[in-house]
Amino acid sequence: MRRVTLVKRSDGETVPFDETRVVEVIESALSAAGGRDPGLAGEIAALVSLFLEKTFYDAVPSVAEVEDMVERVLIDTGHAEAAKAFIVHRERRARLRSARSARDGYPEPTLFDQRVVIVDDTAAGLSAPYSREAVARSLSQDGLLPRPVADEIAAVVEEKLRRAGVSRAPTSLVRALAESELLQRDAPVDLRRRAAASILPETLEAAMYRRGPRSAGLEASPTPALAAQELGAMALRSHALSDLLPSDTARAHLDGDLFVHGLTMPGALHAASMTPEDVKRGVAPGAGTRGPEGAALNARRLAAAVGRSARLLAGSATHTAALVGAPLAFAPLCVNRSREDLAEDAWQLVLETSADPGARRMELDMSPEVSDSLADLAAVGGSGEALSVPNGELAGVATAFASALLRAHLRGSGLPARELLPIPVVGVSERSVGVAASRAALRQAAEIALTGERVIFPMLRDRGPVTGTSVARGAGSGAPPSASTCCAGRVTLNLPRAARRAGRGNVEGFLRECDRLVDLAVAAHQARRNVLALASSAPGGPLAPLFRANRGRAALYDMANATWSIGITGLNEALVHLTGFELHESDEASVRVAKRVASYLCVRVKAAGMSAELTTTLDADDDPEPPRRFLTCDRRQAPERTAEGFPELSSYTPGASVRADAPVDILLRIAREEPLHAYFSTATLRLPIAERDSGGPDGLVALLAKCLRAGSAIQVEFRTWS
């Protein structure tokens, strides 16, 4: 046997093998796992050397092979936790290498170098080791410094970072340190010429001329306009992560512990709703209903005005904009109109509220709710104008208008641009399933759902008309419902990660981990509140039309009443870590744990919001983007464990749902999901159903009636296929 004296680095260079490096690495892995024995690392390193000698008696091992050996010896000697820490360390280094490989001319970081400082490059959403070369180049180009001075300052900054003992630093910190050093030297330059939200030249080139790695979030072949939008979004995202959010929240977002929504539009709301009554009263922004001198307001003019306001609203919300109470608001203008005129009015409203190409679709309330009380009209922001028709007739006209809207949508379903039509929102109430005219309209909505289009069916049990949006509902029972509501921001928690950290069966540990995430999410909301306060209160601010009273008109929203959403996703996979079963498996054990988690979070989120003076809500986040990103991050961090638990999944299950392809019947799916809805402000029951098994529109209506009467589901959608 021959001692291993040389080792081959990943760049091909052969360097002397240093056993003390191996000892250092094992020491840090053991200490990360809570080990305290000072001599143990040396013993394990000796074992590593021994096995290396046996294996590579006639060859030079590579660094990766040495690391494999360290990993194997740690596992074989029963230090699984230390091995895990070591694997995480390796994975992180591999990530850095891959990020670095996208750039040219940067030196490869030395493996086993414990002193490396990682700089979070928020522009590209990646991290890279601190590089004197890159900083010096940036200083000499941006600060117009002579290169030797730039080299010197880069070295001082690195030294300061290491002395501070930080292992990671955002680019803003690096820049601040460089600025402070320049100030001390009285250098006549202003580094703020280059703002915090910086985009690397490589990223810029990649977006404009050549497509970069998919990891940078770049899709193939954009138009120049789209490329410019993409770069703008990246700059704003970078700004939000480096300057607006607290650093630990930004780091948690980058690491995949949570997902802060709307980073590319930090000055926008998450979701917002309004009603045509707001347009009638002149509260809604951007549009008046006044026509030529002496002309009375009619349905077509109102539809056009609503369309203008709706487009402004859609531009102010990153996720969802909704128009609620449309049938009731249009009813007084449609009394005594012929069936054909009603259809034309409805068609115009559908067209006016269609999305612009590339924008998100609006949600349009088409509830056929029959109401015989003017109190309901007042609840959706009724103008209080004297009506010359009996209430019962008005309610009938509202139902007819809702039906006309649904017919118009069904007619538009055949158009090439049907993906721009508004998403129908059809409230399901005892009256709408019981009264013949409303039930017929509900059947039309079911017909649209059977074509594969998305239709949202909110369950209206005791809270009157539809309020809010599908991701942020208005006030619940007990409080007067408000049609115009807004959700200012949302942060989604990575529950599978929290459960993996807590370990199998450790529900208490999982809840403690959730506590930490909730605190981070609230801190993110507080930071965003400051930004939105500026955007909404400053004269000419982007949100000022929504939040400021002007020229005698009231404000549409009040920031004090805005809600702040904390979403959860991947509850199904978190249960796998905690109980070993998915939500649809086992008798009731997984549902019990799921209920406990949801009820705890419900209380915890409210309490955290109260202490921060925010109206926080707990929501089951059904957006597919966060769970996809979370699984990608988790696969990077713990590839073996994730692959073992979820070998074939392409994404975690969004929200608090049963896995989409779980082999269970619809009723079991409903029975497992709907009890959890009692703890959320918004959650969606997505029911997969084949067209041939649906029993037609009547079958879907029967199922909706069941969901309304027998459970606590908040809203229902169907995923149908033929």
């Binding site: 059947r443 019947d665 619809i666 009723l667 079991l668 409903i670 029975a671 159903i689 041939r692 098994d693 649906s694 029993g695 037609g696 529109p697 009547d698 079958g699 879907l700 209506v701 029967a702 199922l703 069941k706 027998a710 459970g711």
Partner: protein, 245 residues
């Protein structure tokens, strides 16, 4: 002498939720083994023969599955095979009645005595009878066995006279029961509250042709629909509603 309880019927299938077995209702479907017909286009041929060796689903498991879902169900549909062949059927109906769900029986109408007894007991909410063709020798061809036409006729009369909910299903069988025969069956069922015209399992002759039949003879019955399209009613009651509106 030891009195043995009547054995419960062998259950060979459970669909915990169906939206098509009873239009407009969420229903669980329980399939019983054994049939006295041998229809050439039977959609469930595995349920035809009575073979004790095939095994069955324990009744208690089925009842538990239905019970656990009762909050979400409107109804239970019992079908075969032919359910009325089993002596234990009344007992099964009694057990299901405890769940306070509506119960529909799907039968071929070959046992009018049992059917009368079940309707009289009040355990059934609805009866769905399959009428295989006009009451002539073709009926035996469509049923794959020698059928007592008098029994079928008696069952039809029984259902027409009973106050409860009923429906008659008339299946298409290429070469045996086609448009003309279907029309003749619907005329025979004149006065029925609901008739459902079914295409054959392979989809022939197409919805358009079945719809044409429904349109031509639908006014003989209160409600006449094509299977799977409950929203299009060609019956006399629906036509009256349209005229009034």
């Amino acid at each position: 002498m030891v009195m043995r309880p009547t054995p419960l019927p062998p259950i060979r299938g459970l669909d915990p939720m169906s939206l098509t077995a009873w239009e407009g209702r969420v229903a669980a479907v329980i399939s019983l083994q054994g049939c006295n017909f041998d229809c050439p286009a039977c959609p469930v041929p595995h349920l035809v023969s009575v073979k004790p060796g095939l095994g069955s689903i324990p009744v208690e498991n089925v009842l538990e599955a239905v019970y656990s879902r009762r909050r979400w169900l409107d109804a239970v549909v019992l079908r075969g095979g032919e359910p009325t062949l089993h002596e234990g059927l009344p007992e099964l109906l009694r057990l299901l009645g405890e769940f306070e769900l509506r119960v529909r029986l799907r039968t071929n109408g070959s046992n009018p005595e049992v059917l009368a007894q079940l309707i009289g007991s009040g355990e059934l909410t609805s009866v769905s009878m399959s009428v295989r063709g006009p009451l002539d020798p073709a009926y035996s061809v469509a049923s794959g066995t020698k059928v007592k036409l008098a029994a079928i006729y008696e069952s039809v009369e029984l259902l027409l006279a009973s106050p409860g909910e009923h429906e008659f299903r008339v299946p298409w069988l290429a070469g045996v029961v086609e448009a003309e025969q279907m029309e003749s069956v619907v005329r025979m069922l004149s006065g029925a509250r609901r008739v459902v015209l079914e295409p054959s399992p392979d989809g022939t002759p197409g919805v358009r042709e079945i719809r044409r039949v429904a349109r031509s003879v639908g006014n003989f019955v209160e409600s006449c629909i094509v299977a799977g399209r409950p929203s299009e009613d060609f019956g006399s009651a629906a036509r009256t509603r349209k005229v009034v509106s």
